[in-house]
């Protein structure tokens, strides 16, 4: 399925983009993550959480096709 992926802060520094659409043939978030690690190897050294449809999800969550976001540590306030 075609998934929109958003990158923020230091994650966007690694990917050199803030958003992209990827055709993904995986079912879980961890599967998608492996795809991203092969594409952007520096991601492995970064600390981030993953949101699907604007809610944080675990690695074993199922991909629903909704928007995915890679969120580096929060720094609000």
């Amino acid at each position: 399925m075609l998934i929109t992926i958003k990158y923020f802060g230091q994650i966007a520094e690694v990917t050199q983009k803030e958003e992209e659409q990827l055709e993904v043939n995986k079912n879980s978030v961890s599967g998608l993550l492996n795809t991203l690690y092969s594409k952007y190897s520096d991601l492995k050294n970064k600390d981030f959480q993953i949101a699907q449809n604007q809610e944080l999800v675990d690695l074993d969550a199922e991909l629903t096709g909704a928007e995915i976001a890679l969120l580096p540590p929060f720094a609000g306030g």
């Binding site: 923020f8 580096p72 540590p73 306030g77």
Partner: protein, 147 residues
């Protein structure tokens, strides 16, 4: 995708003392309020490895952040007897000494506002996807991380 009609808490640039003043002034018509409590986050000119932070550049996953702010608001009104609650966060560049976060709670009685304000500020720090790039005076940068 989620419904996205949550209030937008973000403001471009620093939050001015005038804006805060106006917000305080507007509450003087609410004569059931006995206590206001205001938190202001101000950008520190931290010195890190000999370099001084001159500004923070804020970005956010805005839709999710506004949704999280909304959830925090709902939860605060459920937990505490608040009359009003207002929250604003900066996006973009906020210089050292300027204000980037403004949280304002009001209640008939004081005990409530102390508890509520701390709860809300901690929830914002922990749960809202806002990112901060600390810009040093030599234009290098590092990424801020809440503790």
């Amino acid at each position: 995708m989620k419904d996205k009609k949550f209030k937008n808490v973000f403001k471009e640039g620093a939050i001015s003392s005038n804006f805060i003043e106006n917000s305080i002034y507007k509450h003087q018509t609410k004569t059931n309020i006995g206590a206001h409590n205001i938190f202001l986050g101000q950008v520190r000119a931290d010195i890190i490895d000999g370099k001084t932070v001159s500004a923070i550049e804020y970005t956010a996953y805005e839709d999710m952040a506004n949704q999280k702010f909304h959830e925090i608001r709902e939860s605060a009104f459920k937990k505490f007897n608040l009359t009003c609650m207002h929250t604003y966060h900066s996006l973009g560049t906020v210089k050292a000494g300027e204000i980037c976060l403004f949280v304002f709670v009001s209640s008939p009685r004081r005990k409530v506002v102390f508890e509520a304000l701390e709860y809300i500020v901690e929830a914002i720090k922990a749960n809202v996807p806002v990112f901060g790039k600390e810009i040093f005076e030599d234009e290098s940068h590092q990424w801020k991380k809440n503790k």
